[in-house]
């Protein structure tokens, strides 16, 4: 049988449900198809024409009694999905990872500093009011200014001023050029609401909020006037907060819900056997890190950092901590789901000789404490133990310090009392965003205190340069270098990217590609999926 025939047969098996998506993708990989194309082929095999109708019930593993409909306060996956379901933004990251205009029909800038957004015309809010530039300006001002308490305030500090130019155009003046600005306005906080009503859940989205009970559920029905074509297929939607993973999985198996996020990896092999359940794995931007603080001894030493970076069995961590649902990291925070992931950078592997060489050069002796608690991420303590084990093969002694879960983020992480600990990052959709969150010298969350070295000085200059660079090729080059600087000189060990693992009933269909910027198809599954 030729490779092509084999692929075709696997495609048919996958279509008819004899094999799952994972197996199908794996079989394509085995015949030499690259991962991105394998994923898209898997999608094509499953793709069908969207059908409308039905009640879509989703179990979300988050949700709290403090949730609101004001997007300025969105902070968990429940509010994210809910917000994206009833609201729109100026731009959106579509299901194949491209940034496209949403309420903005187009956007342009000559210098990266002055951005012009041309609004889509004739879009109506759920209350019947037509969306204009005035609403956009009000929606942005909701997150800006001295008094604003929005979680998106930090994102928009770069905005010097914005003004409406006629009814259908908004002009932003930034303090300094930022080529990523159209990306930033797609952030889930910056939902466009009618001026003067930011909190009651009136948006322009595909679904209208009927009943919202914080921490319990959100009930929505289709917006008959939805402007976006080919989206919002379900008639009615219920987002249900089911925090207990067992309850969530039981509900899906019993048909009480149609989709869920965050599958419990411990039981996934049993869960997969259920004939009604599809498991979906997406590599996103979320990652686990072990930041070493350069201002705490002995981590200021480049060779010691290198020694530790070489003494980690990354694949073992993926297999044992994530049970295979993840990818190895290369000591920088940019994932394959990002635009400018540096694929040229050689993957760092466990190398006892190199580790021992650098360790000897650093002149350090004695135990190196590594703090961990499961509140950093599930399995952090196990991961630390595995690191201690592999490092001992290179003659490096690591002492795992088990910290209390309570107060972990204030007492252990980003704290000079502890030089090295476990940490979790949700990831950011753009390189600049991720770097400015945790790696540049002006962020409070620079958890490695990577500030004084030559590498970091160069890195900081490059990040600012890239921000103003509108030429894609040049930006790519700069970001490639940034990643290699963090990977070599930086203080963070990034051994793992954890996948989003979700599940849905076989009756659900979706486009060939699924967005990776957030879990649940970029948190827009409600308007993107349909009943097959």
């Amino acid at each position: 049988m030729s490779k092509l025939e084999y692929r075709a047969i696997q495609g048919l098996k996958y279509k008819s449900g004899q094999i799952d998506r994972r197996t199908f993708v794996r079989s394509l990989l085995a015949t030499g198809v690259a991962l991105p194309s394998a994923l898209s082929l898997a999608g094509q095999a499953a793709a069908a024409t969207p059908k409308s109708g039905g009640l879509f019930r989703m179990g979300v593993g988050h949700g709290s009694t403090t949730d609101t409909l004001d997007s300025a306060t969105s902070e968990n996956h429940f509010t994210l999905i809910n917000g994206y379901t009833f609201g729109n933004h100026l731009t959106e990251v579509n299901n194949d990872g491209q940034l496209v205009g949403e309420l903005a029909e187009s956007y342009e800038s000559d210098d990266g500093q002055k951005w012009i957004f041309n609004l889509r015309q004739g879009v109506e809010f759920h209350n019947g009011k037509t969306m204009t530039s005035e609403d956009v300006v009000a929606s942005f001002n909701h997150h800006m200014g001295e008094d604003s308490t929005s979680a998106a305030k930090g994102l928009l500090t770069a905005v010097e001023s914005l003004k409406a130019d006629g009814k259908n155009r908004v002009i932003f003046d930034l303090k300094s050029p930022n080529a990523d600005f159209p990306f930033i306005v797609s952030d889930y906080h910056i939902s466009i609401r009618p001026a003067g009503d930011m909190a009651s859940g009136i948006g322009t989205g595909g679904y209208i909020v009927q009943n919202f009970e914080p921490g319990v559920k959100s009930v929505l029905k289709r917006n008959p006037n939805y402007w976006k074509e080919g989206r919002a297929h379900f008639d009615e939607v219920q987002l249900i907060s089911i925090v207990d993973p067992t309850a969530r999985q039981t509900a899906l198996m019993n048909g009480d819900i149609d989709a869920m996020d965050r599958v419990d990896l411990k039981t996934i092999n049993l869960f997969k056997r259920n004939p009604n359940v599809n498991i979906m794995e997406v590599t996103g931007t979320a990652h686990y890190t072990f930041p070493m603080r350069l201002n705490v001894d002995p981590f200021g030493d480049y060779d010691l950092r290198m020694a530790l970076k070489h003494s980690i069995k990354r694949q073992e961590l993926v297999d044992k901590v994530l049970l295979g649902y993840g990818a190895v990291g290369n000591d920088h925070p940019i994932s394959t789901a990002n635009r400018y992931h540096n694929s040229d950078l050689p993957q760092r592997e466990f190398d006892a000789d190199k580790a021992a060489f650098h360790y000897k050069k650093s002149g350090h002796s004695g135990k190196i404490p590594l703090s961990a608690a499961d509140s950093a991420f599930a399995g952090a303590v196990d991961a630390a133990q595995l690191i201690a084990n592999s490092a001992s093969e290179a003659g490096i002694e690591i002492e795992v310090v088990r910290e209390p879960n309570d107060g972990y983020w204030s007492n252990v992480w980003n704290n000079d009392a502890k030089g090295w600990c476990a940490c979790y990052w949700g990831g950011r959709p753009t390189e600049d965003w991720m770097f400015s969150a945790a790696y540049t010298n002006d962020t409070e969350w620079n958890d490695t205190n990577w500030k004084g070295t030559d590498g970091s000085k160069k890195f900081n200059a490059l990040v600012i340069e890239a921000r103003a660079e509108l030429d894609d090729t040049k930006r790519r080059e700069i970001y490639y270098e940034c990643q290699s600087l963090i990977s070599d000189d930086g203080g963070s060990i990034v051994p793992l990217f954890n996948s989003y693992v979700s599940a849905n009933s076989k009756s659900i269909a979706m486009d060939d590609q699924v967005a990776a910027n957030w879990d649940s198809d970029g948190a827009k599954c409600v308007e993107r999926w349909w009943f097959a």
Binding site: T65, T66, I240, N254, W409, S410
Partner: protein
């Protein structure tokens, strides 16, 4: 004043005094909870200044005695205060009144508790009396064995077994019991069926065995011998002669189990995704939302005190010796 009314009033006063003591215990034990709300909600963003500012805003920088006084004064007027969460790192005050948070959850919990009680209490009385009547028979032994088995398993296990049989293999009832304010009554019964059944299985053994033991205990008394000698049938002996004197211990056990139905069912709530007050309290403890924790704890304490009071009153009213003291 009739001695019974006097006793009841006395018990009521004791109840209020107990509640007061409990409020002190609640408040001081929360003071000793490790961690603090400000740090917890600020998470990765907790710095010295933001934490201090946050504590100031919430009034946590004031001395504990003063805060206790303010809290009790407000509670006496029916004001349980405002939830801490909502005033999160983003600063928008979207905090909700504790009463608004608790009321719908408490209603759900009381509904589930009543549903379970309506099934469990008559069932266990019936089983208790009938096993006393046919004690040491095969029937007695099998009822005992069954109820002891169900009480011996942890609630979540009973719940998962019920889900397996009644929701997965034979889908009679839904595994999700997520009711809301608009759920019609019939639907509510249907959705709450499995959690109520779980709770019933968990509490029946205790009440049934206590009923049986209380009755059997009395059967050795001389006055029961007398009743038998005068020709009363076994059923008559139990229902007419033994039971009236057994009500006091039975009522106490029933009260205890009813209180448990209100305050102790958080595991069942989580498994069935039932929006009850237990889950609310656990969430509040996890986020150190002190006003909500205090509100819930106070309601739980009140539940125990009121139910025990009722049990005491039943004990007095059904006991001739207490009813007519010398």
């Amino acid at each position: 004043m009739h001695p019974v009314i006097k006793t009841v009033l006395g018990r009521l006063a004791m109840g209020i005094a107990t509640l007061f003591v409990v409020s002190i215990i609640i408040f001081s034990s929360i003071e000793y909870l490790p961690g603090d709300f400000a740090k917890n909600i600020l998470g990765q963003a907790a710095t010295e200044e933001t934490t201090a500012a946050f504590r100031r805003e919430l009034g946590l920088d004031q001395p504990a005695v003063l805060r206790y006084g303010q809290w009790v004064a407000a509670v006496v007027q029916g004001d349980l205060g405002t939830s801490f969460s909502g005033r999160n790192a983003s600063g928008v005050d979207r905090s909700r009144q504790v009463v608004d948070l608790i009321a719908p959850r408490l209603r759900n919990t009381l509904f589930l508790a009543s549903l379970a009680a309506v099934v469990a209490v008559p069932l266990s009385l019936l089983l208790g009396i009938s096993t006393a009547l046919y004690r040491n028979s095969v029937y007695d032994r099998s009822v005992n064995m069954t109820t002891l088995t169900t009480i011996s398993f942890p609630e979540f296990f009973v719940a998962y077994i019920l889900i397996l049989f009644l929701a997965s293999l034979y889908p009679v009832f839904p595994s999700l019991a997520n009711v809301d304010a608009e759920t019609p009554l019939g639907e509510r019964f249907y959705r709450a069926a499995l959690p109520a059944l779980t709770l019933t299985l968990v509490i029946v053994a205790h009440m049934m065995r206590m009923t049986r033991a209380a009755i059997i205990n009395l059967l050795a008394s001389p006055y029961i011998q007398m009743a038998r000698l005068s020709g009363a049938s076994p059923t008559e002996v139990i229902l007419k002669h033994a039971l009236p004197n057994a009500w006091a211990p039975i009522a106490t056990v029933i009260a205890f189990n009813l209180a448990y139905l209100v305050v102790g069912v958080v595991v069942v709530e989580v498994v069935f995704v039932y929006p009850g007050i237990g889950q609310l309290m656990v969430d509040a403890v996890a986020s150190r939302d002190i006003p909500v924790v205090q509100g819930c704890a106070l309601i739980f304490a009140m539940t125990y005190i009121i139910l025990n009071l009722i049990a005491d009153i039943i004990g007095i009213l059904t006991n001739p010796r207490l009813l007519h003291p010398k």
